[in-house]
């Protein structure tokens, strides 16, 4: 009888462990709800065929966001960031491969299903008003998991400071709140980057593609890429979005694999509680069976 019960309890322990780990063996990607842009979503549309690389947007961005000039690579002479960094939330890059050239604007993509906000322990990074991903310093411990998670390499860190902040494009949410546009969109002399409602921008991008198919790559980047982004891109015909430095993510949102597994394991916190109960029961049973003073000695 005792042997039977012990065997039973051990079996339960194994079953409990299997129940907890089972989902890891069979991840079901469809289990996670598909995210869509919020109804009030605002975004930007960058058309690489219009950009002349004047970098006015970079200066306007720094002024609007109180960022210093990044003069590290120019001996203190002029602003010359080599990539997005803690002094640069928005950058114009040049792609060049023989005759094929294009400018490229990089900043936060304001993903529909951002990896960074899934990473963030206490919601310092969140999709806030208009679906814009902003950073709240009070909630940030500076762990930098957002930087590990972001497929676009956007969240940057003030490495030189003893009390560092995470720096990223917040679509000038402080300006939007005052009824203004993001600085980069306001100053662009060619309207290469424009600001507006996500749905309007999507229609605009599709319209441009339909009106002049020979001019563009036959795709609007950001509609479905990595689950979608609120910043949309059009590229010159013959220059792929990967040429411009954007990753080829497919349609699956980046957080899907991790979130599906983790939520299956922790659904309703049932598995941990069940495991605890099983472990507790087995240890208690073993303790009683071993007799003596009944004390479990570690």
């Amino acid at each position: 009888m005792t042997v039977d019960r012990r065997t039973l309890l051990k079996g339960m322990a194994v079953a409990g462990a299997a129940a907890a780990l089972g989902p890891a063996l069979e991840p079901a990607p469809e289990a996670r709800e598909k995210r869509v842009p919020p109804p009030d979503a605002m975004g930007m549309l960058y058309d690489a065929t219009l950009c002349i690389g004047c970098k006015t947007c970079m200066v306007a961005c720094q002024d609007a966001n109180g960022l210093p000039r990044d003069t590290r690579s120019s001996d203190g002479l002029y602003d010359a960031p080599d990539d997005l960094n803690a002094k640069c939330k928005n950058i114009i890059k040049l792609f060049k491969d023989g005759d094929r050239t294009s400018f490229m604007k990089a900043q936060c993509m304001h993903c529909v299903d951002p990896a960074c906000i899934n990473a963030c322990m206490m919601g310092a990074l969140k999709k806030r008003e208009h679906g814009i991903v902003t950073w709240e310093g009070e909630r940030c411990t500076g762990c930098r998991y957002c930087g590990i998670a972001c497929a676009y390499g956007v969240p940057k860190y003030e490495w030189e400071k003893a009390w560092p902040r995470v720096i990223k494009c917040e679509m000038c949410s402080q300006r939007i709140a005052k009824g203004q546009q993001p600085a980069c969109c306001e100053v662009c002399p060619r309207k290469a980057v424009i600001f507006g409602k996500y749905t309007d921008l999507l229609a605009e991008a599709k319209g441009r593609l339909a009106a002049d198919p020979g001019k563009y790559e036959p795709k609007v980047f950001g509609v479905t890429d990595g689950g979608g982004t609120q910043v949309l891109y059009l590229s010159k015909a013959g220059i792929s979005f990967q040429d411009l430095g954007l990753p080829d993510l497919g349609e699956t949102p980046v957080p899907d694999m991790q979130q599906t597994i983790q939520h299956s394991l922790y659904q309703g916190f049932v598995a941990p509680v069940a495991l605890f109960a099983v472990f507790g029961a087995v240890i208690w049973r073993n303790k009683k069976a071993s007799g003596g003073d009944g004390e479990v000695k570690p």
Binding site: N118, C120, M121, T141, Q262, P272, I283
Partner: protein
């Protein structure tokens, strides 16, 4: 339990030459830690926007907690599967776990940029992002550090209850010892539950990095592989600690006991290898292992260490001698270490133009944290009843 296996303090002098060297190393790291908090992470580490995580996360935290899984692995054997004969290995295992996890927690405090806000993680419950795997790791590790010291606390209480100890300590032990005794079953159950949770989560963390992690490591099986390998590493560390302690402190060897236990991690590694290789083959990623790059090379280093370690543990020639046990266990522990370092650093590719190698202060801080851990181990085994059995020589000598 028979009297001769009752744990005893080793006694002996604390300030041995070895201890002084460790103290000096730790002293240097304290100065560097101060510099890190004054000058920031950029000045003291090799970290960058491309590689926001370095050895403090990959080694001190992710590998350090896995090395601290001895208590977890032994708890399964002793308390769940009721193999009481392994009980003498329990206290040293819990001590190395408690120290390993405490040092990991210390490393996190050095690594995060806004350390004073760490208190908010357990306190500001309404801010919790329940989608964050890192939040789960943080809360779980904090709780487990407390649980491990509670599991170990009877060793301290027993000493404090003795005649001649400080009255205040006597009082503390008198109040807390009975409470801890009564609560030991739930404490032990939580102690088995928590590592099952966060060691899995440590495997899940890098899933969020998606394509940035090399195909030989980026797999939905990573959480399971991390859990399985941490248990194997736990047994490995227990065997290594036991052989080292018996040699250094001239204690009776536990070779027979360890030989019997060796098949447990050996089979765990077999399961690990089946899942790891099976997953790569089924998903058609085997070709990645035959490319000429550092990732493929490191993959084979892992494979050789895991396979070699398991083969050695199965082989009576290695398993039944103290030296062989040590070598076999070290192979498994190294294998799990390399697997973790690879997942977090070697397999991680943020794109061209980025490179990471730890800076000298960064490395020295890690070395200093390990030195502190060894010092704490030496202090505790000499003053408190951790190691079982009487000394072989009548005089107990300290570690040289």
């Amino acid at each position: 339990m028979s009297a001769h296996t009752k744990p005893q303090p080793l006694g002996g002098p604390l300030w041995t030459p070895a201890f002084k060297i460790l103290a000096a190393i730790f002293g240097v790291s304290v100065l560097l830690i101060i510099w890190r908090f004054v000058a920031g992470l950029g000045a003291t580490t090799g970290l960058s926007d491309g590689y926001p995580w370095g050895i403090w996360i990959a080694f001190d935290v992710v590998t350090g907690t896995a090395l601290g899984c001895g208590g977890y692995a032994m708890a399964f054997l002793v308390y769940i599967f009721n193999k009481g004969d392994y009980h003498p290995l329990m206290r040293p295992a819990v001590l190395t776990s408690a120290l390993g996890y405490t040092m990991a927690a210390l490393a996190i405090n050095i690594d995060v940029g806004r350390t004073p806000y760490i208190y908010k993680i357990p306190v500001f419950v309404s801010w919790w992002n329940l989608n964050s795997v890192l939040l789960e790791v943080a809360l779980c590790v904090m709780a487990y550090v407390a649980i491990l010291w509670l599991e170990l606390s009877p060793a301290f209480f027993e000493t404090w209850e003795e005649e001649g100890s400080h009255p205040a300590l006597k009082k503390i032990a008198g109040v807390l010892h009975p409470i801890v005794k009564k609560l030991m079953v739930p404490i032990l159950a939580v102690g088995v539950l928590l590592p099952s949770m966060h060691q899995t989560s440590l495997g899940a963390l890098m899933l969020l990095a998606g394509q940035k992690v090399h195909g030989l490591w980026q797999t939905p099986f990573a959480p399971l592989l991390f859990l399985i390998s941490c248990v194997a590493m736990g047994y490995g560390v227990v065997a290594m600690e036991s052989t080292l302690a018996t040699s250094l402190f001239r204690r009776p060897r536990e070779t027979k006991l360890l030989a019997r236990m060796a098949v447990v991690p050996a089979w765990i590694v077999v399961v690990y290898l089946v899942i790891r290789t099976g997953d790569i083959i089924v998903h058609g990623r085997l070709g990645l292992a035959f490319q000429l790059n550092i990732q493929a090379f490191m993959f084979w280093v892992e494979m050789v260490l895991f396979t070699g370690g398991a083969a050695m543990l199965f082989s009576p020639k290695f398993r039944e001698t103290a030296k062989g046990q040590f070598q076999a266990s070290m192979a498994v522990v190294l294998a799990g270490t390399v697997y973790r370092m690879d997942t977090y650093l070697v397999a991680y590719n943020p794109g061209k133009n980025w490179a990471y190698f730890p800076a000298v202060p960064e490395l020295l801080i890690t070395v200093g944290v390990v030195a502190l851990e060894i010092m704490a181990y030496l202090y505790i085994v000499k003053r408190y009843p951790i190691l079982g059995g009487a000394a072989v020589a009548p005089k107990v000598r300290g570690a040289e």
